[in-house]
């Protein structure tokens, strides 16, 4: 029997979510991008994707293994369709209300144009009917998928994942191919995949996955199980390093620019990972150290630095910047040494804001230029290449990669060293750590100082790349986004930070820079918030967790019934879902 009330509730939820997406203007602005030429636009993908997911969850709750498979399929499909129907009703009422009552004064996005975008630009009666039809079909498909065999389900999700991947990453593919004629073969001139290329991708994916899937998964398992010293693991690392060296040559300017942004966030993520992930000190003012690095470099190298302007070479300025960052780390670290958890978070947040306000104030304008910032920061002098700055992203990428390697090496060595174990002990229980003879004071200060120095790497590179520093690059938002990168990737895990930075900064975009999906610009912080909440609820250990961290978290879960049922059934599909 279908639980009508439950289905109805899910329908209301789906309808509410669809109305919300429309109301914030997301559907309208996303619809400007075509994914598959005549049939699918990005806004529609999000609108019906939401409905699909909710219908799937609703139908999954209906499944009853005691019943006949055929009956089961009918039941889940019906549930999904019902969810779609209720959602349509909500959306239709919403659309009619918006047409009838003028609310644009209060909600600028709730206008005729939004109703148009919800109804496939067909106007009220036909468009609403189309909307209803599409919703019911999507809901029914979502419900039906629950009861299908696992193999089929996997094939479908793979095909959908790859097709959407190709469609969404059109910019990347075009940039790599570097020839419009070739990319025209796959993509239509209006943007979006051509219909027949969708078919080709689907066939290829099904064929290749049937053929190679067993081998690929066993290889992946072998790599992840291999211990850190084995030849296989080293081979994979060597391959990744090789790829990092070759890739920038293949990529065009835009993607290299993006790579630099991602690497800067990898750097800061690695630094924050030491503070938050390894030592367990939640620092919400991490951007302050980034600012110290950037402003330190700016003052020391730029000829336009207002008062004190030694005009040093970047490489000479670098060690001075490190010392400044270390001092900043000590200055922030010492007062907060006795504070725990939440208090630490709010005080470091305060420090971050104080630094920004001071940099902006008239008081320190003679030193840091205030709202004018400091301009004309020279690039980095590299032997044989001359000055490498933001105008030559294809070389600057290598510079950032070198620093990422250094920071990665520091984190890797620190993790398994005496101090790394001291951090782990301190993170788990500070009193016990103190009792077994770990000096928590020096361990904490060391974490702050290391983190600060790594952030100053990023700051120094940032100022050389942009060529100017302004205070608005250093607000709280940056700290929070670095934190999200670390958490989504997996606290305490180096590879996790790298994956997190690629997924979030690379795809969604950083605080000030666009990612691959430039359409997200307006809504990316909404996504950041939602991702953060979702990760904390469903997978607090992150995408690529460190073993110790996830054990710590799961130990806690054991006492919680609510999490037991989830119990780490995270599959590759989910990971794909998060990346696309």
């Amino acid at each position: 029997m279908i639980d009508m009330r439950r289905t109805f509730r899910f329908g209301l939820l789906a309808g509410g979510a669809m109305a919300f997406l429309g109301g914030i203007g997301m559907i309208e602005s996303f619809n400007e991008r075509t994914l598959i030429d005549p049939i699918l636009r990005m806004g529609d993908l999000f609108l019906y994707g939401t409905l699909f997911v909710i219908a799937y969850i609703a139908a999954r709750g209906e499944i009853n293994i005691l019943e006949e498979p055929d009956y089961r399929a009918a039941e889940t499909t019906a549930t999904g369709a019902a969810v779609g129907f209720v959602a349509t009703m909500v959306t239709v009422v919403y659309a009619l209300l918006i047409t009838a009552v003028d609310v644009v004064e209060f909600f600028p996005n709730m206008d005729e144009a939004m109703v148009e975008s919800l109804t496939f630009e067909q106007g009220a009666p036909i468009g609403l009917a189309l909307l209803g039809l599409a919703s019911v079909i999507v809901g029914a498909v979502g419900g039906w998928l629950v009861s299908t065999a696992d193999g089929l389900k996997q094939s479908i999700s793979k095909v959908v994942g790859w097709v959407l991947g190709f469609a969404l990453l059109e910019v990347v593919v075009t940039d790599i191919v570097e020839s419009r004629d070739v990319s025209r073969l796959i993509y239509s001139p209006n943007g979006g995949l051509r219909l027949w290329s969708v078919a080709v991708i689907a066939v290829l994916v099904v064929y290749l996955s049937r053929r190679y899937s067993g081998r690929l998964t066993s290889f992946a398992a072998e790599v992840s199980n291999a211990d850190s010293k084995s030849r296989l693991r080293r081979g994979v690392i060597a391959f990744l390093v090789f790829a990092a060296i070759v890739l920038p040559m293949l990529l065009g300017g835009i993607l290299n620019e993006l790579m630099i942004n991602v690497s800067l966030f990898v750097l800061m993520g690695l630094g924050l990972n030491i503070v938050v992930g390894l030592a367990g000190l939640l620092d919400l003012g991490y951007v302050a150290f980034f600012a110290v690095g950037a402003y330190g470099t700016a003052v020391l190298t730029s000829p336009l630095s207002p008062t004190f302007s030694p005009q040093l070479n970047w490489w000479v300025a670098l060690p001075i910047v490190f010392v400044l960052a270390a001092i900043a780390g000590l200055l922030v670290g010492t007062p907060v040494i006795r504070m725990r958890g939440d208090y630490l978070a709010i005080v470091t947040l305060g420090f971050g804001e104080i630094v920004r306000i001071l940099l902006l104030s008239d008081w320190l304008t003679p030193l840091f230029g205030g709202s004018q910032g400091i301009r004309r920061i020279p690039g980095v002098d590299v032997p044989f290449l001359g000055e490498v700055g933001g105008t030559r992203p294809e070389f600057f990428v290598y510079l950032t990669l070198i620093f990422v390697l250094i920071a990665g090496y520091i984190s890797y060595r620190a993790q398994n060293s005496r101090i790394g174990r001291a951090w782990a002990a301190m993170r788990e229980d500070e009193d016990v750590a103190e009792a077994i003879g770990i000096s928590t004071v020096s361990a904490k200060l060391l974490a702050f100082v290391t983190g600060a120095i790594i952030a100053s790497f990023a700051g120094a590179l940032f100022s050389a790349k942009v060529g100017a520093v302004f205070t608005n690059s250093f607000d709280v938002l940056v700290s929070i986004i670095i934190l999200v990168v670390v958490i989504v990737g997996g606290m305490g895990s180096i590879s996790g930070v790298i994956v997190g930075a690629f997924v979030l900064i690379g795809v969604l975009g950083g605080p000030k820079s666009p990612g691959l999906l430039a359409e997200f610009a307006e809504f990316k912080l909404l996504f950041y918030g939602a991702i953060l909440v979702f990760m904390m609820l469903k997978r607090p250990e992150g995408l690529l967790p460190s073993v110790r961290r996830s054990r710590e978290l799961h130990q806690d879960e054991m006492s919680q019934d609510a999490w037991l049922e989830k119990g780490g059934d995270f599959t590759a599909d989910d990971a794909e879902g998060a990346t696309t």
Partner: protein, 378 residues
């Protein structure tokens, strides 16, 4: 330099046991002396700044007595608003032991939706005809919205996390905060929305014991005091209030005593949200405009106020709010101006955060100390 090195280098610290003992003594001295250095330099800076300002005042420079008085009144009214928002932080911290970062957004949501009500009333002419009834309607709308958002976030985001490691709900609340901010940015647009001008009666000065005070500010202070008294009555005298205090003391035992812990926690969020809604109306009266990021900074400041008064302590939160209002309103002119720093009003927020840091260094338990839910932290 030697000491700094020892602090930074654990390899040296851990060499031998005797050296360990010696370095340990060193280390504590170093941290403590640094803290003492901060304390003493803060006091010196304040004293020097104050004398400078007094000197200026005697020389006839700087603000006049009337200006100081107006500044004092407006600082107190801003502080009263912070205090109301701080109550929400304090209550949630007392009961669940985590900082609800999203509380600033709960506050903002009340102002935002209240703005719709205010605009509708204004267009109908009710705003000018019946100012107090209109304000009451806006107040109800703001309180309802804030309560709704607070309860929803608790249900969706925080309840499943009960009993997880301490940082997890904190990080979740940061996510909720961002989600709400940008959801409101999407719904209402990113521009600044302006409330209609408050009715004429409020912008006139009213004499209180011979001192003229602007009507709006008087209303703000009166509303804050009323809300505080109502909350005080609710928490100390009613059965639900007693349940709340019991849950703050010990959730398990409270459950064994027949208290519905879940419902009590929801009530806590609801009451905190309602207080934020009242705070929202006060914000609207004082500053008249609202934007999606309006909640962020006042939120952090309200938390600062809660810490200042002693977190978990309700009168403390109110007192902390008033003190914070005074610090950030008067501090820049009173202390920093005396130190000869230009354009001190830019440093208002920096002063508020410095106050937080100094309070945690000087007196980690806050002005009134902790009464509810004394978690380990100091």
């Amino acid at each position: 330099m030697d000491r700094v090195f020892r602090v930074c280098c654990p390899a040296v610290v851990a060499e031998t046991s005797t050296q360990n003992a010696r370095t340990r003594r060193f280390r504590f001295n170093w941290v403590d002396s640094f803290l003492w250095f901060i304390r003493i330099s803060a006091i010196i800076a304040i004293v020097v700044g104050l004398t400078g300002t007094i000197q200026n005042f005697l020389d006839g420079q700087g603000p006049t007595v009337e200006q100081w008085r107006d500044l004092f009144v407006s600082s107190i009214s801003t502080g009263a608003m912070y205090g109301l928002v701080a109550l929400g932080y304090s209550m949630v911290y007392g009961v669940l032991g985590f900082i609800n970062f999203a509380h600033g957004e709960v506050f903002m949501s009340g102002i935002m939706v209240g703005w719709i009500a205010a605009m509708l009333l204004f267009e109908n002419g009710l705003w000018d005809a019946n100012p107090f009834i209109s304000l009451a309607i806006v107040l109800l709308v703001a309180m309802f919205t804030s309560t709704l958002i607070a309860v929803l976030t608790e249900k969706i985001a925080y309840r499943p996390l009960r009993g997880s490691p301490r940082l997890i709900p904190l990080i979740t609340s940061i996510g909720v905060s961002f989600f709400l901010q940008y959801a409101f940015a999407g719904l209402f647009g990113v521009g600044l929305q302006t409330y209609p001008a408050p009715p004429g009666i409020l912008s006139e000065d009213i004499n209180v014991f011979g001192v003229p005070i602007e009507g709006t500010k008087l209303l703000v202070i009166a509303v804050a005091i009323l809300a505080m008294v109502a909350l005080w009555y609710f928490v100390t005298k009613t059965k639900t209030g007693r349940a709340m205090r019991a849950v703050a003391e010990d959730k398990e035992i409270a459950g064994l005593m027949g208290i519905n812990v879940d419902r009590t926690i929801v009530t806590t969020f609801a009451v905190g949200g309602a207080m934020a809604g009242v705070g929202g109306l006060l914000w609207a009266l004082l500053f008249r405009n609202v934007q999606f990021i309006t909640g962020f900074l006042p939120g952090i400041k309200a938390f600062t106020a809660a810490v200042l008064g002693g977190i978990g302590n309700l009168p403390g939160a109110m007192l902390g709010g008033v003190f914070l209002g005074l610090f950030e309103g008067m501090g820049p002119l009173l202390v920093l101006d005396g130190l000869g720093i230009p354009a001190v009003s830019q440093l208002k927020d920096a002063v508020a955060f410095s106050a937080l840091i100094l309070v945690l260094i000087f007196r980690p338990t806050g002005l009134l100390g902790e009464r509810l839910g004394s978690e380990d932290r100091a």
